[in-house]
């Protein structure tokens, strides 16, 4: 258990510290599972179904998180090379390749050892998830389970609970959740315990609420956390510890910290000159440095679509009704994951709203080589945003895993030019304000 804070001076910065601790603990636990030759359920960040899996006490592993950690630890290229050597194309998702190499290495990972899969659960939020799981299925002969979450059929037309179209989709999801429960019973040999699910859902409720609150708190000026760097730490905990008491406690304390910072005007930079939104997936091969190029010039990220879709839509703050757990889980999953998909496939309106709500000076679009799921449409969203709002924006390409296509010098040139534009715009509006 994390001890309650005593003095305000202890508060600032504890979210990152405790997040780091939790994460080291997370990998240590996975390593123990692997050492005991036990297996873990493999799940993904967009619709992890952690509530169900945790109710069966299954250890879970997030291959996406394992993969991005190899980039942050600067060894992703070794893994990518190994997968490319056996025929995986340089064109495709770096996460998949890092994971394939990880499996070939028997789970050897810079943060410890990753257990083999007992089963895999994934949604269609990313089509590559499906292809990825098919690899494990053939590699280990394990059951894999797709939770097919119907997407938005027409951008802008969002169906809601109670409507015929929504309810039809919800029933489909619910049916699949029930199938998943049966599968979990088979894999674990345990009987499904609905009260345990209720507990997990109650924890998830508190976490979702905290997550929503956390994001909202960054509307304050100065912003209280950096959505790109700090946000990624929080995201890891939100995904890994969803439905657990540790996760809930962590987020409630984090909200406490951020409320404290907001109340005391404590920001992330000495001087917050430019409030930015990040659209896409971070550049993990030079994670810290990438962010520094912005912060050195007084820019900080106040929000990102990443915190939306990579939390599986937790940003909606959906609250399960634990009196009808399965139905409500289906509804929440449909709403949240559909929202995550929309923030990748139809993100324009969301970015525009985000930009308004967070008093934004500019938007950074970051498409990556690895991923067409999140990168397609970004150029078009940017075009629409600029046409409609005149919002300054930057469009830079690199990758989340493959340092061969990350050119720091080129990125810096583009980012510098972006800030020059922001500065002259600020100057101009000041001059206009004075006149």
């Amino acid at each position: 258990m994390i001890p309650p804070s005593t003095a305000p001076s202890d508060i600032v910065g504890r979210g990152n510290k405790e997040g780091g601790q939790l994460f080291r603990q997370w990998f240590a636990n996975l390593s123990e599972v692997a050492e005991r030759k036990e297996r873990a359920a493999y799940v993904f960040v967009m619709g992890s179904l952690n509530e169900i899996l945790k109710s069966f006490d299954m250890p879970v592993s997030f291959p996406e998180i394992n993969a991005l950690q190899t980039a942050i630890r600067r060894v992703s290229h070794e893994y990518l090379d190994e997968a490319e050597d056996i025929g995986y194309s340089p064109d495709i998702c770096g996460y998949v390749k890092a994971d394939v190499a990880l499996q070939m290495r028997g789970g050897e990972h810079p943060m410890g050892k990753i257990p083999k899969p007992s089963m895999a659960v994934f949604t269609n939020a990313c089509n590559t998830y499906i292809k990825w799981a098919e690899i494990w299925e053939r590699m280990y002969d394990i059951p894999i389970f797709t939770v097919d979450i119907p997407g938005t059929r027409q951008a802008g037309i969002v169906t809601m609970p109670g409507q015929h179209r929504f309810e039809n989709d919800r029933r489909y999801v619910e049916g699949q959740i029930r199938e998943l429960i049966t599968l979990c019973e088979q894999v674990t040999g345990k009987k499904f315990d609905i009260d345990k699910l209720r507990d997990c859902m109650a924890n998830a409720n508190r976490l979702s609420l905290a997550w929503e609150r956390l994001l909202a708190l960054n509307r304050s000026c100065p912003s209280v956390f950096n959505a790109l760097t700090d946000g990624t730490v929080y995201l890891g905990v939100a995904n890994g510890f969803r439905g657990t008491p540790e996760g809930t406690a962590y987020f409630e304390r984090l909200v406490e910290e951020m409320e404290y910072k907001a109340a005391h005007g404590i920001g992330t930079l000495t001087e917050e000159e430019y409030r930015l939104i990040f659209v896409g997936v971070p550049c993990y091969p030079i994670f810290r440095r990438f962010n520094e190029i912005f912060t050195e010039q007084g820019g900080t990220f106040v929000n990102s679509t990443y915190l939306w879709f990579a939390s599986g839509g937790t940003n909606r703050g959906y609250q399960y009704d634990t009196t009808r757990p399965i139905e409500s889980l289906a509804e929440g999953l449909l709403l949240s994951v559909r929202d995550a998909m929309d923030s990748m496939f139809h993100q324009y309106a969301m970015v525009r709203e985000m930009a308004e709500e967070y008093s934004t000076d500019g938007v950074v679009f970051h498409p990556i080589k690895s991923c067409r799921t999140v990168s397609t449409g970004l150029a078009d969203s940017r075009r629409a945003l600029m046409e409609e709002t005149g919002m300054p924006s930057l469009f830079i390409e690199s990758d989340m895993m493959d340092r061969r296509v990350v050119s720091e010098a080129q990125l810096k040139n583009r980012i510098d030019a972006f800030f020059e534009g922001l500065a002259s715009r600020k100057h101009q509006s000041k001059a206009e304000g004075a006149a």
């Binding site: 056996i86 025929g87 995986y88 194309s89 064109d91 495709i92 998702c93 998949v96 269609n124 990313c126 089509n127 590559t128 499906i130 292809k131 990825w132 098919e134 690899i135 299925e137 053939r138 002969d141 894999i144 797709t146 097919d148 119907p150 997407g151 938005t152 059929r153 027409q154 951008a155 802008g156 179209r165 039809n168 989709d169 489909y172 049916g175 699949q176 199938e179 990748m344 496939f345 139809h346 993100q347 324009y348 498409p367 990556i368 080589k369 690895s370 067409r372 799921t373 990168s375 397609t376 449409g377 970004l378 150029a379 078009d380 969203s381 075009r383 629409a384 390409e397």
Partner: protein
Amino acid sequence: MSDPASALIDRCEAIVNDLDHTSVADWKRQSDGTERKAVGFLPVYVPREVIHAAGFLPVGVVGGGDALEIIRGDAYFQSYICHLPRSIIEMGLGGKLDALDGMIFPSTCDVIRNLSGMWQLLFPDKWAWYLDVPQNLSPRLGGRFYAHDLQLMAKELEGLGGLEVTPERLRGSIEVYDVHRGITEDVFALRREAPEKVPTWELYMLIRAGLILPVEDHSELMVEYLESASKRTAKRRDNPRVIVAGAFCEQPPMGLIRTLERAGCYIVEDDFSLGQRWLREPLRITDEDEPFGALAKAFLEHSAQGATRFHPDGEPKGEELVRQVRECEAEGVILASPSFCDPSLLDRPMITAALDREGIPWTGFKYAENTGQFQGIREQAGTFSDSIRLWSEAS
């Protein structure tokens, strides 16, 4: 000596190469001054029966190939993406899809899913629909969901001015497509039996024209072709029989297909037209069958094993291809994937492993719809063809 089959292919070529879709616009205009409607759809699979039953013309949109210069389309996308969406956006912006009253984007991959959102942003006045084909393959869940989703789409088409898709109408359309499916397979069977009579570039043009022509006309056209081509007396060459796989969405340029053939390969099976051959069996619908359910059932039970469809059954990937190799008496496989095509490229290592296990020779490359230089591919295919004939036995 005149060859009616060649003349038919010339006609198909003219239809396919008309990127402005003039034939679609012509079809829409009726003699009484009223207009019919046409709806476009993207690869891979969309049940055209539903569009047909609404009285609309389903039109497959697979990009502009190498004939279209991309001027604006590039500005709408990042660098690391296949070529198909660039050229479809280019066509849309250039008015080449004006004849289409709506567009359907099936859940083929995330690029096409994304394109459905872009389409709505760029062409707010046009109807755009994301068709969510099921990834859950149980009849009770995925089947029911999909049947309902098709009904939803039918309602949308009705709202767009289409006829009500009654069970009778839909059954009628399914029958029309059953006929079409049967003839299509006959043409492919002729190529398999006598590849010297049905060059793949011809077959390709014939099938591609079917994305644009009304299904009834296309069936007739194929029957004529079949009759004429089967009478050909071309000499069979000492070419290896190969299967081309992986090219089911963004299409290779015609020059590439011709290059493979010129390099001495008889292509006896391919997946260029996977979407049109998605349902492998005729539905043989009866008056008692609920037709939406029948389409859903066919999807669950008789779909082609494409890379864009989830395979939960644990059968090793590539087994289907191995079976095809055996059935077609093919001697090798050419894996052709569009650059940055996630489904095609992600499957490749498992497919090549299956081919290796079976000792089936293969070669692979990437292409884009506007690939202009074929020398490298010619070399590769030529060497492959030689190695099948000379070294698999001589060594």
